[in-house]
């Protein structure tokens, strides 16, 4: 099975859970910005979660399917449509050969994930299929998808559904009666409150700046991308200007360059940074961050590292239950 890219949209890349283990070589982790959406999309089509998916940004992406296959779309609500019919998100969908899938308009969120049973077949570079745009490696020849690209799939575990109606050209998709509850997913609308813990240089910032970060809205600027979200709002200032030696940063590090406008480091971040780190977004809220688009507003709330880790633990257990339930439901499809 394969797909043909008709329109690449704003930015569509192949991503998995990232290229770890090479940080000391200066290699960015990359990987899906919204990890849970990527994992769940995979689970919904009977994959393990490690397979690559397509990360689709905002609008404009369109593909044609060359064979019948199971797919799932998760993440931001970017209005996926198959042959004019709205495609239900967060559930397995069987699309027919010759169908055309396109993403029409942004309802909420910023990034959608398209998984196919078996996963997209791309060579693994240094242990990952993730596209690393800056170094030009991974994914589709190290670049974003282009018009005319053909992507093949590896063979999947999920068998074709028993269709009550014989193959009919009018039916372009077949789906199930259940879906992943939105209650399980991080909020994707409104002005999200992003929880943070203090960064290593939190104490180097003026009290007024600390207050600004916790009390005021910050806007996501158009200069935001997979490397980082550049925010604009009240200027954040150090008590006294000083230089910091470059050291390792992490996903969600909020660093403040000389202009006082914070940058939140995301999936394609460089491994080292030389700016003061005022705070750090907790792991649980990184997917929320990943779904913010330019123009959105965000607020921050300080929590403790203990709370952040405890909540994450609870959520990991919920995800495990979800995965088991999806596996059971997929088994039921064929019994």
């Amino acid at each position: 099975m394969s797909i043909i890219v008709e329109k690449p949209g704003l930015l569509t890349t192949i991503q998995d859970t990232g290229r770890t283990g090479y940080g000391k070589d200066g290699v960015s982790i990359t990987g899906a910005m919204d990890r849970p959406a990527h994992m769940i999309a995979n689970w919904l089509v009977g994959n393990t979660g490690q397979e690559p998916t397509l990360e689709i940004t905002l609008s404009g992406f369109a593909v044609e399917f060359t064979a019948d296959c199971w797919i799932a779309v998760t993440g931001g609500q970017l209005t996926p449509v198959v042959n004019g019919q709205l495609l239900p998100m967060w559930r397995p969908v069987y699309v027919r050969k010759g169908s055309r899938l396109s993403f029409k308009k942004v309802e909420s969120g910023c990034r959608a994930y398209l998984a196919v049973a078996g996963g997209w077949q791309v060579p693994s570079v240094m242990g990952s299929a993730s596209t690393y745009l800056r170094a030009g490696i991974g994914g589709q020849n190290g670049r974003a998808l282009r018009e005319g690209d053909i992507l093949s799939t590896s063979s999947g575990q999920l068998m074709p559904p028993k269709l009550s109606i014989e193959p009919d050209r009018m039916i372009s998709l077949h789906t199930v009666s259940w879906q992943v509850s939105s209650l399980l997913l991080p909020s994707q609308t409104g002005k999200p409150v992003i929880r943070i813990i203090p960064g290593r240089e939190w104490g180097d910032f003026s009290t007024a700046s600390q207050q600004s970060l916790l009390e005021e809205n910050y806007r996501v600027t158009p200069q935001s991308d997979r490397m980082g979200y550049r925010l604009s709002g009240s200027v954040l200032e150090l008590k006294s200007a000083r230089d910091y030696l470059s050291e390792a940063v992490a996903h969600g590090t909020i660093q403040v360059p000389a202009d006082g406008q914070p940058i939140i480091l995301m999936a394609d971040r460089q491994t080292l940074g030389g700016y003061a780190k005022i705070a750090q977004v907790i792991s649980l809220d990184l997917p929320v961050m990943a779904q913010l688009a330019p123009g959105d507003y965000v607020r921050f709330e300080m929590v403790s590292i203990g709370e952040a880790q405890q909540w994450y633990g609870t959520w990991v257990r919920e995800l495990r239950v979800l995965r088991r339930m999806i596996e059971q439901k997929l088994k039921d499809l064929h019994s």
């Binding site: 070589d25 200066g26 060579p123 170094a135 290593r200 792991s283 880790q309 994450y312 633990g313």
Partner: protein, 319 residues
């Protein structure tokens, strides 16, 4: 062999430690095996042979006699930064290397990777894995991770043997089309271009960290005699292999990127190659030396390097 970690409260005064030490020896001599082991802090430890109960080694980190100082800070909820000092120094770099090596050789459950830099070592961990392991514990995950790391840092202290320093010699074709800013660097410092080349190529450089781009070395050791500020307007493309100067730093561009460094030459080597293990030519802790080569040699070596590249592209395309 097992270790007894000394609790901070016990090591606040040196004579308390001596007392504790004597007590341990006494108890072991009398065959007491159910010793209380406290693994909570980094102030000292005693290494004991499990078979003979003989004290094998004692190391105390009380004030004024510390072998290796560190502080652990959280870097978010999924990583920590271990700080070994506050200034750029070869000793600190050595400690970071030793610590990273120890953790990599004896990884704890959920460990992902280590990233060294000038004065710190970042240790990344998988919060999902540690959440499942740490489920019943009363200790938080961060505290658990700190303990796991401290145990390894203490172990690293016993590794007296120094790792051998790797020296990498890099050929550079200075000046001409490869080093368009060589004259500028010379003029700025009141030197001839030959003098700049001579000074640059006679330096011993230390790689403190790899970052900014894959394989890019942050190096120290350049003579201030050839320092030059960055370009006011950065170039849009700097070819891979370019050797540049920015302030008192020198570096090599591993990929074609925009940049503001003053370019004095180009090296026909690949600093980053995904097909190699490790993919970066240089590693933190390495020493680097440059030696000048003529343009013909650059072209010859450059062709070798690009042959490797086109072969790799073919392989990539076949899959």
């Amino acid at each position: 062999m097992f270790k007894i970690f000394l609790h901070k409260t016990n090591t606040e005064r040196y004579d308390h430690v001596i007392k504790l030490y004597q007590e341990l020896v006494y108890r072991m001599d009398n065959g007491v095996s159910d010793l209380h082991i406290s693994a909570t802090c980094s102030t000292g430890w005693i290494l004991i042979d499990k078979m003979s109960y003989k004290v094998y080694h004692i190391q105390l980190r009380t004030e004024g006699m510390s072998a290796m100082e560190w502080t652990i800070h959280p870097l978010g909820d999924s990583a920590v930064l271990i700080e070994f000092g506050q200034e750029i120094h070869g000793d600190i770099l050595g400690r970071i290397q030793t610590a990273a090596h120890q953790i990599e050789q004896d990884p704890f459950p959920g460990w992902i990777e280590c990233i060294p830099s000038y004065t710190t070592l970042a240790v990344y961990y998988d919060l999902a894995v540690l959440s499942l392991i740490n489920r019943s514990g009363n200790t938080g995950i961060y505290e658990t991770v700190c303990q796991l790391i401290e145990q390894r840092l203490l172990m690293a202290l016993t590794q007296e043997k120094k790792q051998q320093t790797r020296v990498v010699d890099i050929p550079v074709c200075y000046g001409g089309e490869y080093g368009p800013d060589l004259q500028l660097v010379a003029d700025r410092n009141g030197l001839t271009t030959d003098q700049v080349i001579q000074i640059h190529a006679s330096g011993d450089y230390t790689v403190y960290a790899i970052g900014f781009a894959p394989g890019f070395p942050y190096m120290g050791g350049m003579s201030p005699q050839i320092a030059a500020p960055r370009k006011q307007t950065p170039r849009l493309t700097i070819p891979a292999g370019s050797v540049g100067i920015a302030g008192e730093q020198t570096g090599i561009y591993p990929l074609d990127t925009p940049g503001g460094w003053q370019l004095i030459g180009r090296a026909p080597v690949r600093l980053f190659d995904p097909k190699q293990a490790p993919p970066a030519l240089l590693q933190s802790g390495n020493k680097v030396r440059f030696f000048p080569i003529p343009a013909e040699e650059y072209i010859r070596l450059g062709q070798q390097a690009s042959n490797v590249r086109s072969q790799a592209d073919e392989e990539g395309g076949r899959r």
